[in-house]
Amino acid sequence: MSAAGGTPLLLAYAAVASTFLSGAISLFAVRRHPGFLHFGSFLFLFLSGAASIVAGGWTLLGKHTLTGRFALGLPWLDWHLRIDPLSGFFLVLLGTLVVAISLYGPSYTREFARGPAAQPLPPLGVFTALFVLGMQVMLLADDALVFMIFWEMMSLSGYFLVVYQHQHAANRHAAFLYLLLAHVGALVILLSFGVLAAFGGGLTFDQMRAAELTPLWATIAFACAFLGFGTKAGMVPLHVWLPDAHPVAPSHISALMSGAMIKMGIYGIVRVSYDLIGDVRWEWGVVVLVIGTASSLLGVLYALMQHDLKRLLAYHSIENIGIILMGLGLSMIFLGSGHKMLGTLGLIAALYHTLNHALFKGLLFLGAGAVLYRTHAHDLDHMGGLIHRMPLTAFLFLVGCVAISALPPFNGFVSEWLTFQTALQAPVLKNGLLRTTLPIAAALLALTGALAAACFVKAFGIAFLGKPRTRRAARAREVPAGMLVGMALLAALCLLLGVFPTTMIQAMAPITQLLVHEALPSAAAQGWLWLTPISPQVASYSAPFVVAAIVVVFGLGYLFLKRGAAAPRRAYAWDCGFGQLNSRMQYTSSAFSQPIRRVFGGVWKVDEQIDTLASAGPIPRVTSLHYSLHTHDWSWLRCYVPIGRVVLAAANRIGFIQTGNIHTYLKFSFVTLLVFLWIVS
């Protein structure tokens, strides 16, 4: 590696080192001086985040590909590290979130230092650091061993973070499920690497790139990788761990998990299928597209039924992973059938959405954390009216909602728009089936988008608007500045990436250059103002204009309508003559989603209980009425419960070996002996 070019890698090392320091500080100092967590651990976390942003950005813009080695690991296999545009891109993503949470964390973790949810702080700091460390080094990994070590380290420290508040059985269950699926997934990934290594004759990624696979084995390798990484990414039907695990972790960790960790699954899929295996086949693309579509649709439908804010957000992660996968699938289809440019477009759309989702999902989880911090409520129906008490948080959360609902001018829209554009190029394909399925997938994507909008109207509306539903919500205060800064950073980025997509896409060119040796020259052909992915004739979008127009309307409104007009008078809303409106007359979250529940009947397993308490007397009149609604996940009931049953049944049957009767045991060994003697002679 060239002397000047070496710096990004060194920066990355620096990032890793400071993450490590942050962990070490919490391990040794925090028990005695909790202050160190806030001003030592998180400080170094901040540095590490910044360093990895710089390192990643430098590599990305400088189109570097640098490698390094450490004499660790196996005697015949050093640790190979390498930073290239792809890993650089993901390092930037990770770093951004890390910076955000390191600003947000110090105030947020005070909650755990005392009060009802008091927990020992050192584990939190240590495992947060290990979690980030795992992801950073995993991104730098250039051989299967290092990759797997740090991949598992990420999963494992994630487990400790999920189970951090281990008093609740629900948390333990969630953590267990999470770790189980993560472990199995990791083993499947291992198999995929095993195939590549067997053909490439070595565990380093270079050897794997060189491997000449037969189509069958290539498909097997891809399938293993897709399954394994998909488990981490949370694609349907391997997603069941996600909505359990993400909500129960501390919120800044949930932000990291939903924002960064599941993206590592995407990274893995891209790395293995585009980089290591190399020649992508369109059949894979179809599978990825179908699974992606299913994930996005089911994800959002399940999200609609949730009334736990963080759980709702978790299901939206599944939805967005689905959208990313759709982009990848389209790109694979086009690449596999020889349309490089469109393949590149799909890849860009997918990666762009990965970054966007990291930003707004991080923002939303931090916002949910802020609400939790003040109201200690997970349930939407215990919030309400917060926009009056915590206006800034409300505003930032709203930004997140608009962005994730794919509404212009924010970033979520751009990437979905790119995905649409890719899908609409279906006519260039020879295969008639694909030509029809791609637009249908696009239409389902539209459905997803609309449902997501509905879901976030519900989330924001029920949580922040209307009247406070509980006393705690009524007494909430704005959160400390640190948390606001953390969220504001992400919100600003959401807007920026939404308004200047052209610049961003230009910056992402090296990635596609690296993976498919193609870029999108046309994207910026008309200058930064116009985004024209394919050609100005085919499609164009100009976010700056949108912002300008809305600003103009506000300006005009101010000039002509507001100025000079008398200050508005406040009055009570019309109460139909029933006396004062109170907070219980508002729509609840489940009421809001009830129409949609009726429309898409069979998607959920709904159990709905209404228990009324009637007073005794000649004419019993209902004194109290309690309505509860739980929606269960079919894939859980249909796939996982049976598997668990089978295992337990097997474990139950197997007991017969251990009868406790010595004669049986003797007979076992006697028979074994005789059988073997008989075999050999």
């Binding site: 004499a71 660790l72 690991g73 196996l74 005697p75 015949w76 020992p120 061993l145 797997m148 070590i149 740090f150 598992e152 380290m153 494992l156 189970v163 281990h166 008093q167 059985a169 333990r172 953590a175 267990f176 770790l179 189980l180 472990h183 199995v184 083993l187 499947v188 291992l190 198999l191 095993g194 195939v195 290594a197 067997a198 565990l203 295992v647 337990l648 097997a650 474990a651 139950n652 197997i654 007991g655 070996i657 251990q658 010595i662 049986t664 045991y665 003797l666 076992f668 060994s669 074994t672 002996l673 073997f676 003697l677 075999i679 050999v680 002679s681």
Partner: protein, 490 residues
Amino acid sequence: MTLLEVTLLVPLLGGLLLAVVGHRPVAGWINVAVGVVTFGAALVMALEVFARGPQLSGGRMFYIDAFNVYLVVLTAFVGLTTSIFSRPYMRHEVERGRVTDRRLRLYHSMYQCFLFSMLLALSTNNLGVLWVAMELATLTTVLLVSLYRTPEAIEAAWKYFILCGVGIAQALFGTVLIYFAAENKLGADRDDTLLWTVLHGSAGANLDPAVITLAFVFLLVGYGTKVGLVPLHNWLPDAHSEGPTPMSAVLSGLLLNVALYALVRVKMLVDASLHTNLAGHLMMGFGLLSFTVAGLFLHRQHDVKRMFSYSSIEHMGLITFGFGMGGALATFGALLHMTVHSLTKSAIFITVGHACQLAGTQRIDQIRGLIRTQPAIGWGLLIGTVAIAGFPPFGVFISEFLLLMATMKSWPWLTIPLLVGFGVAFAGLFRHMQRMVFGEPPPKQKPVEANMLPVVVHLLLVLLLGLAIPGFLSRWFEQATVLISGASPL
């Protein structure tokens, strides 16, 4: 007197000494001291061997090569750390009145004799003496298993005694057959014909296949019983769960290794003379069976020590599978796995011992909230389990990684049962683990005096092995791998 003699004699004399003074408070310290001396001698000897290669000593009675020298060191080391742990542990048991002075004396002296017998088994050059030492190991531990004299303990000890006795008898028959085969190839000076160096030398190549095959079957069933391969494993959970915890630690940490060592030695002979892969296939089948069955058994356990003994069976199965598969990568992985497993597992048993004293029971459903009551124990148990479940950055992961890779290379479809096995075993371990470690502790649960030093040391070593294998160690492994599989992974 040579280092080897020191390594062998010190434990023996220590055992005799402790047979006299074993009940005194100082006995615990003597135990530790003996351990220290043994370990020191073993280490220096290992370095010598490492410098000068294999060496014969004691009139060709003893043979030390790369394969067994690191096992000798491992045995001495785990023996030492366990003795460190057993001092406070046994004191606590005495206070609880579960152990009288006589039994304490018995315990201490038998502990050292047991170590002696294992070291003898490892270092001898004579297959016959190897057998004698193995039998001796059984005899010395039988009384340890029944130390508490509860009906369960007695029953467990009886089963252990009978089953291992029978198994070992088969092994003797196998040895006789090998001798038979060797004797009529090189009829001259009869006392040499059982010497490993002679058999494995040029002479070994042309032993009669039929006899050797027969012999291997007997030896496999015999030593396999001690390794704890399903379906010969039944003694193992009982013995582990009923005996005192230090004994469980050395049983699963060391004895199983030694038995497996014997098995592998024999396999080397058989491969040399047979030129088919019969032995390997038998071992693979056995290993895979044990691996899967033990994984299922993990789910149905109520007793924490019993659970971990099943996990030992599982890992022994995996190692046997690895050795059976042969090939440089697999063998290297298996050797590494032997090491990390015995380190981790003994650490776990040490922690479990303290945990049981803490909770006053071995029943899983009555152990709660360790991490709250005594974080050291809670975290120790948690991290130990994480390590044994094969999570990086611990060494177990590396060896499992290598084994999986090797399997993928030579038997791709066998990776699927392995995968399922790992998943099932993991679930079995953690579903119990979480309930013991996490949650709210029962009202009046007090911390106990615990010496976590051994645990920390073991786990740090395992961690080190996971991150980087030191040069000399890796060269040992490599030499051993070359010795066993005839090829080098490097």
